[in-house]
């Protein structure tokens, strides 16, 4: 079980990103293994926003959001009052950015690592939860069985 940051999906969808190959390899592996993905609903908003801004393609942004939000392998966690209070505590106690605190709260609640390419997020949340890059997460997984 993993919580995946928006940056990993963004890099997977953008071949020119430096983290593209590792993000794609990780998502493909998690998909093949049927690993549950525990994601904040915030991911959908961030993904739509960054695709709209960088690719200038709101129509595809809407389609990718619709697709991910209905993927049975993904469980989306809404920012309800309990999660908001947890994230607020984390943000205040660890000087996290708002979005980082939401991701940490979701991962902490689920008891799973956070996978991210956002170096600032990675640096800030280290020590609060286990956070890894897609490449590090891939190397932590047992070798995939031969097809």
């Amino acid at each position: 079980m993993f919580t995946i940051d928006t940056s990993v999906f963004v890099a997977d969808l953008t071949p020119t990103e430096s983290g593209h190959a590792e993000s794609r390899a990780l998502l493909d592996r998690l998909r093949a293994d049927g690993t549950p993905l525990i994601l904040p609903t915030l991911l959908l908003v961030e993904l739509a926003g960054v695709i709209g801004r960088v690719h200038g393609d709101p129509e595809r942004a809407g389609r990718i959001v619709a697709n991910l939000s209905t993927n049975p392998q993904a469980t989306f966690v809404a920012l309800d009052a309990a999660l908001a209070l947890r994230a607020a505590d984390l943000a205040a106690g660890h000087r996290l950015r708002g979005a980082d605190a939401v991701y940490v709260g979701v991962a902490q609640q689920a008891g799973c690592p956070l996978i991210t390419l956002d170096t600032e997020q990675l640096r800030r949340v280290a020590g609060v939860i286990t956070a890894r890059t897609p490449a590090a997460a891939l190397s932590s997984l047992p070798h995939a069985p031969d097809p």
Binding site: S7, V54, N67, N71
Partner: protein, 76 residues
């Protein structure tokens, strides 16, 4: 005879608050049946569509800025 949503809304507005609650309860039960009868997309279908979107994104013009950097900046 067909009836518009606006007409239904106007009629519902004439109900007592208690009957409006009963109407919502009735419609919720009907909606639950519809939702439960609609099969959720399988994981395979969802990932297949995701693959198609990956291909479409790969064909888009190269962005002038890093999407990951843009995301990180938007969080500050």
């Amino acid at each position: 005879m067909s009836i518009s949503l606006e007409t239904v809304r106007d009629l519902a507005g004439q109900l007592s608050p208690r009957d409006q609650v009963r109407l919502i309860t009735l419609l919720s039960a009907q909606l639950e049946t519809v939702v439960m009868d609609t099969p959720a997309p399988s994981s395979v279908e969802a990932w297949t569509t995701y693959d198609q979107l990956r291909t479409e994104f790969a064909a888009l013009p190269e962005p002038t800025t890093s999407a990951v950097a843009e995301l990180s900046a938007s969080r500050r």
